[in-house]
């Protein structure tokens, strides 16, 4: 099972293209796996015969786990591999099992007094939800009683939706982001009059312009195009801009690789392609990974300013609000212009407010003089 992203822990086998006994050629797609948000075709690492499938369709396999075994046509199935499942492990297990079983039971056993258990049973309380105040965390009757009281004041529940799939992954990622990076958001107002004109003339979207503007600004402020890994700020070599796309399944962030090396029109067509694929869950691994900066747009919902959460392990994320006609003051005069709010959230461990503001200013400037983006 290959590692398909920085944070992947395990993948699901969705479809084998070959069956046991088939001949395979190096590089040919062997099995489709699903991880976090996208499917990926695992290619045959060598030519030979697919001797054994160890991970059946539907199975979850941890990263670096074995999916199958390919041998040369006349080669014996290596016993060590085969034994990697039942026998040897079994022998070990046979000795260790009793201990493990008891340990397991003790570990999962909740320590609660009989009175607490009785009260919990009477009220249908799940003891795993109760914090014990007794010695060694023992749950006592009072603890259960408190929870019952608390629950009496809680609103009623109408529907329960389990947290799974993409939602679960998203929940995990934002938790990670919030826990590791202290994040601060600064906002700026952008006069989109010229951008509007460019849009009409060339047919590129605001988002296309944003990608190009950000990419250029990042070349001027590389510190924003980085990641903090333990005690090192690593400045990325490439500028790969992820654009958040809301789909039925949740938020997906396809990546435009080497955004600064692409022209505005190239960015535009690429983005269209990616969005289409995203909506059909057809994005490849490459298209979903390698991002160094993310742009997220809530403008279509009427949002002006918001506080996006950084897409880990990046250093910043740019939130884009709606473009709306608003009265602003230009050279002392009140005029009505299409105005857009930008919200930049940055990792305060890597940059302070000033450099972040400088970067944001560049983005604003490039958007207000967008013809330069065509270059």
């Amino acid at each position: 099972m290959p590692r398909l992203s920085l944070t992947m822990k395990e993948g699901t086998v969705t479809q084998w293209f070959k069956k046991e006994g088939d001949t395979v050629k190096k590089g040919e797609p062997l099995v489709e796996v699903l991880s976090e948000k996208a499917t990926y075709d695992v290619e045959a690492p060598a030519s030979g015969v697919l001797r054994k499938i160890l991970a059946d369709e539907g199975m979850d396999v941890p990263v670096a786990g074995t999916l199958g075994i390919i041998t040369a046509p006349d080669e014996e199935l290596p016993e060590i591999e085969v034994a990697a499942t039942p026998p040897a492990v079994e022998a070990e297990e046979a000795v260790a099992v009793p201990e493990r079983k008891i340990e397991g039971r003790i570990e999962s056993h909740i320590i609660a007094s009989p009175a607490a258990k009785r009260l919990a049973g009477e009220h249908g309380i799940d003891l795993t939800q109760v914090r014990g105040s007794g010695p060694d965390g023992r749950i006592v009757e009072e603890d259960v009683r408190s929870l019952i009281e608390e629950m009496r004041t809680m609103p009623r529940v109408r529907e329960v939706i389990p947290l799974t799939g993409i939602r679960k992954t998203a929940a995990e990622r934002v938790s990670l982001s919030a826990q590791t990076a202290p994040q601060s958001t600064i906002t700026m107002e952008v006069d989109m009059s010229n951008a509007a004109k460019l849009r009409e003339r060339v047919g590129v979207s605001y988002t296309d312009m944003l990608v190009k503007a950000v990419a250029k600004a990042l070349t001027e402020h590389p510190i924003i195009n980085s990641t903090l890994e333990r005690e090192q700020i690593k400045i990325f070599a490439d500028i790969n801009i992820g654009v958040a796309v809301a789909t039925e399944m949740g938020l997906i962030v396809p990546v435009i690789h080497n955004a600064n090396g692409k022209s505005l029109t190239e960015i535009s067509s690429k983005l269209k392609e990616l969005v289409e694929k995203a909506k059909q869950s057809k994005l490849t691994k490459e298209e979903l990974t390698g991002g160094t900066f993310t742009i997220t747009n809530l403008g279509m919902y009427g949002v002006d300013v918001f506080t996006p959460i950084i897409n880990p392990p990046e250093t910043a994320i740019l939130g884009v609000g709606r473009v709306a006609e608003k009265p602003i003051v230009v050279q002392g005069q009140a005029v009505v212009r299409p105005v857009m709010q930008l919200s930049l959230t940055f990792d305060h461990r890597v940059v302070d407010g000033a450099p972040a503001a400088e970067f944001l200013q560049k983005v604003k400037q490039k958007l207000e003089s967008p013809d330069a983006l065509l270059a």
């Binding site: 007094s113 009989p114 009785r118 105040s133 006592v140």
Partner: protein
Amino acid sequence: MRRITYRDALREALREEMLRDGTVFLLGEDIGRYWEGAFRVTKGLAEEFGDERVRDTPISESAIIGVAAGAAITGMRPIAEIMFGDLSALAMDQIANQVAKMRYMFGGQAKVPVVIRTPFGAGVNIATHHSQSLEAWFMHVPGLKIAMPSTPYDAKGLLKTAIRGNDPVMFFEHKLLYPVEGKVPQEEYTIPFGVADLKREGKDVTVVATLYMVHKALSAAEILSKEGIDAEVVDPRTLVPLDKQAIVDSVRKTGRIAIVTEDCKTAGVSAEIAAVVAEEALDYLDAPIKRVAEPDTPIPFSPPLEQFVIPNEKSIVKAVKEIVY
């Protein structure tokens, strides 16, 4: 109400029952007019009722109890005194195999109204053979009833019931309780067996205690109340029959129980009470059952050693604090 000592209360019970029923008589070592009882309980009775009805015996514990048995099954109501509870071992066959079993093994033909009085307890430095608490031995013999009064009031009432009943009764007293005073009404009263006494009402923890330990438990309760723990002290008064309901009801109320007895911990009376609580009140326990008892040693002689092994207020308070949190 008048206050009299535990020993006076016992004497009154003996005297009143001997007046009431001519078949009641006493036998034991040195209970008569020459010594008047090792603990003076029988003082004056030989003078009043004569040497026939208040009989001094040779030092023959087996014979004392055997004679009591023979007299009981032929229509008398003997009250035998064994000078120290430890010496009951000498009469064990007569107690456990004869007295306790005659009614049953003869199919109900025999009535065995024997009362055997004897003191238990440590605290006066008379060492290993005169300081034990052996009630557990007898609790384990079907056919015997056991009374253990902790106050003069309980002593008189329970002894009367023991004498009037038709079953053998082991009547366990305590050396340190003999001089203790308490309120005892002038009027006649009896206390039924199998009814515990709530010596102190409380809500945080149940403390079941017997005999002398009742007083230790009450002292401990005072100390605990100053620390905000309200202890309920339950005195079973009789071990057989045991008022299980009272103990269970108390545990239901408080959720915690400490059992304090003066016998050795292993297989002691507290173990039986703990088992009863676990069987019948488990779902009301909010903490483990605590037992406070003597360690599994004989009673030593030297004061610091003896004091170490007897449960006291400190050990009771400590035990209670381990389960009230």
